[in-house]
């Protein structure tokens, strides 16, 4: 085993390896996967001098604890959380030098859901179809972290890491406003349902995961009750299952589905969706197609 590696001391509730995912294989039933908050993952890489496609760790609510076998530069972005090195607080949102043997702890998110840990050189677990992302829908890529696992690290690029004290990042949303364009199947719903969808407030459900942001709120009534033949699904599609509660497809979404899609969320709004804790109010606001 290389001496450039991270040992997992505490895996946390759900910590996965993520990069930019494996788009381009949807016709084979392969989800795109990749970091849910892609902008936070990109920032974590930039802060440690990695290329944007390097693999990072994505935590879920309660962080993780790692020991490095070599000296590395690390940075935490996304959901703000206490970060300590050998028990001493270090900066969040900034590059931190981590000596060989030191213990890095990402604590419970103060707000938001997912923190991203960038490590100089990136995590170089074996790629599958060109990506190191864990795909929780189909099981491709490395399994979620477990205590005692060892993650190999790449050789740092010659890039200089960003020299900042702290990089500004958007705060996790107190209210999640998702801009949507209606369709392709808004005509499967009653006019009242479309009105409710675009005017009422939903709440983020605790059943949300990397596959989809589930919501609680007014059930949307269908105008057409037939069965929709399976059709291709895009990232950000708002699918309405039989319970009538809109579900926003995130990175691990299935590539085809048989429930009607009432609208599609703008890609730029999905990082915020990835950081919305259960209970966060959600509003869907219709915008013009670009």
């Amino acid at each position: 085993m290389t001496d450039r590696a991270l040992a997992v001391v505490r895996a946390g509730a759900l910590t996965t390896v993520q990069d930019q995912g494996r788009p381009g294989h949807a016709h084979l039933g392969v989800p795109r996967s990749g970091a849910l908050d892609a902008s936070a993952a990109a920032l974590a890489n930039r802060l440690v001098g990695n290329r944007p496609d390097a693999a990072v760790l994505e935590t879920t609510l309660d962080g993780c604890t790692l020991r490095s076998r070599s000296e590395v530069t690390v940075a935490v972005a996304g959901a703000p959380c206490p970060v300590t090195l050998d028990g001493r607080p270090v900066a969040w949102g900034a590059p931190v030098r981590m000596p060989a043997g030191a213990l890095l702890d990402l604590g419970t998110a103060v707000s938001g859901v997912r923190s991203y840990l960038g490590v100089s050189g990136g995590i170089i677990v074996e790629p599958v179809l060109g990506s190191r992302s864990t795909d929780l829908l189909s099981g491709l890529g490395p399994p979620p972290l477990t205590d005692g696992a060892v993650l190999p690290l790449g050789t740092p690029q010659a890039l200089l890491h960003a020299r900042v004290d702290v990089a500004p990042q958007p705060a996790p949303p107190a209210e999640l406003v998702l801009r949507v364009t209606l369709g392709p199947r808004d005509d499967w719903f009653t006019p009242d349902a479309v009105r409710a969808f675009t005017s009422r407030t939903y709440r983020v459900s605790s059943a949300s995961n990397r596959i989809g942001l589930r919501t609680e709120g007014p059930a949307l009534e269908r105008a057409l009750t037939g069965e929709l033949p399976s059709e291709g699904m895009v990232l950000g599609a708002v699918q309405v299952p039989p319970d009538g509660r809109p579900l926003v497809f995130l990175a691990d979404h299935p590539t085809t589905g048989g429930y009607p899609v009432i609208a599609v969320v703008r890609a730029a709004d999905l990082p915020a969706a990835a950081q919305a804790v259960p209970g966060t109010p959600v509003r869907f606001v219709v915008v013009r197609r670009r």
Partner: protein, 227 residues
């Protein structure tokens, strides 16, 4: 042919039948290969083809809406033979629905040339068409909580092979040891849209087929069309 906008950069092109969807898919793949179409994903499905990652979706929508649906899909060059033991637990039910003796199911199924209409549900799962409409069967009223990898099933007008162990509601007529998905192999997927498929009956004891694979995640509501 109707092209529905999906978000800012995608189109869902609707046609009237499975066959038209397969023909349109083949034509769009041809256009992309010829450099006439720039798009990230071309995802065929039952009655639609999704084009995702378009620069100018509106222009393409106008163009497609004004053009004719290609007649029939070209005959794919790739043929995959799948050896099957026709020993599935739903064989007698399928025979009853088809109105044939149980031992004729294999002959009818293996005597049909199939085509991968589209993939989905799991990496490597192909929805295969080819059986005449009189052989359509419904999904099981109660899906099984676990269907072994390699199970050959029927539902609606489709045939499919479970690439991994998962819950499922298709009527199971047989088992294969062939590996449908192996990400260490190139290509990883044995079946892709347009592939021709023949099932070849084999004798032999029914054993556990192939590697158990990865279990499907819990908690994903399966739409009616999923296996």
């Amino acid at each position: 042919m109707r092209a529905l906008p999906v978000g800012d950069g995608a189109l869902l092109v609707e046609v009237a039948s499975d066959e038209e969807a397969q023909a349109l898919h083949a034509e769009l793949v041809r256009r992309r290969a010829a450099g006439l179409l720039t798009v990230h994903e071309i995802v065929p499905a039952a009655r639609t083809v999704l084009l995702d990652g378009l620069d100018d979706a509106e222009r393409l929508a106008r163009e497609l809406s004004a053009s004719e649906v290609p007649g029939a899909p070209p005959r794919g060059r790739r043929v995959v033979d799948i050896p099957v033991r026709y020993d599935g637990p739903d064989l007698s039910e399928v025979a009853a629905r088809w109105g044939v003796p149980e031992d004729e199911v294999a002959g009818i199924h293996a005597g049909t040339e199939f085509r991968v209409a589209f993939c989905g549900f799991a990496p490597g799962f192909g929805y295969l068409t080819g059986l005449p409409a009189r052989y359509d069967v419904p999904r099981r009223a109660t899906p099984r909580t676990s269907v072994p990898a390699g199970s050959v099933g029927l539902a609606g007008s489709y045939t499919g092979v479970y690439p991994r162990s998962s819950p499922g509601g298709w009527q199971l007529i047989g088992t294969t040891d062939i590996v449908l998905w192996d990400h260490a192999r190139v290509p990883a997927a044995l079946l892709s849209p347009g592939t021709r498929v023949r099932f070849v009956p084999v004798a032999g004891p029914a054993g556990p087929a192939g590697p158990a694979g990865v279990a499907a995640p819990a908690g994903v509501a399966a739409p009616a069309g999923t296996p």
